[in-house]
Symmetry: C2
Subunit: 114 residues, 2 copies
DNA sequence: TTGCGGTTTCAAAAAAATTTGAAATGGTGT
DNA sequence: ACACCATTTCAAATTTTTTTGAAACCGCAA
């Protein structure tokens, strides 16, 4: 191990060294799951979709119209949000109406706090 | 406009149509800035780095040792976190010690709530 | 000045994510 | 059954992000 500045080194040792720090971190599963949520929200268009369907549940065709993108592009982005459990769709006749999940609403609250 | 299911259509109109919904969303700037933060946290390794430097400020060499990755790979990921204003580095002799920003700490609190 | 250690930068390669347009699927109406 | 509409799936193309290893930079010590 290289010679680290003393205060850093001592504090690190106090926490059990690198092993100790790593042990204090959340589980790999938790980190993975959180990063999936963040990834879904990492694209402005997907953020916009989530916030819009919180404002008002919308079918894909209205979302598509609002954003001005292709059907398949929209479908891709909706799937990312769905897979991250941020939105859910419910079938009404020919239409699928998308709205937020609890988690989706909670994440939007967080965005409001910034 | 295609014929949308009536309840959806009416609620939508009540909110000023698609234009009204879009107007109710945060600014493009705000969405962009938020998505940058989410993107920085979208990669498990970067999440881990943030949580570790919250636990204990660390120099790059200790982070590198903990994660077992190359110097340049680490540098890249640290830069993503820095650019998103989640971590900051301060120079101590040969070392740069990384710790969380206020925003970084706040985001970590959020992770704890899930 | 030179040598060394810590860290970043760089450009090309590799990997991952996204976009695209066509095809497929499912439901409704005639 | 056929036609139409809403939406997803698919595979290839495109774009973006990440990784890689070498070079460069910076500061400290002799």
């Amino acid at each position: 191990m290289p010679e680290i500045p003393d205060p850093i080194k001592e504090q690190c040792e106090k926490k059990g060294g690198l092993k100790g720090i790593e042990k204090a971190l959340p589980s790999k599963k938790n980190i993975k799951s959180n990063s999936q949520i963040f990834k879904a929200l990492a694209e402005p268009m997907r953020l916009k979709i989530l916030l819009a369907v919180i404002e008002q549940p919308l079918c894909a065709c209205l979302i598509r119209e609002m954003l001005g993108i292709s059907d398949s592009k929209l479908s891709y982005h909706l799937t990312v949000l769905k897979d991250a459990d941020l939105i859910e769709g419910s079938k009404q006749a020919s239409w699928i109406i998308y709205g937020p999940t609890k988690l989706g609403t909670k994440m939007a609250d967080i965005i409001d706090k910034f």
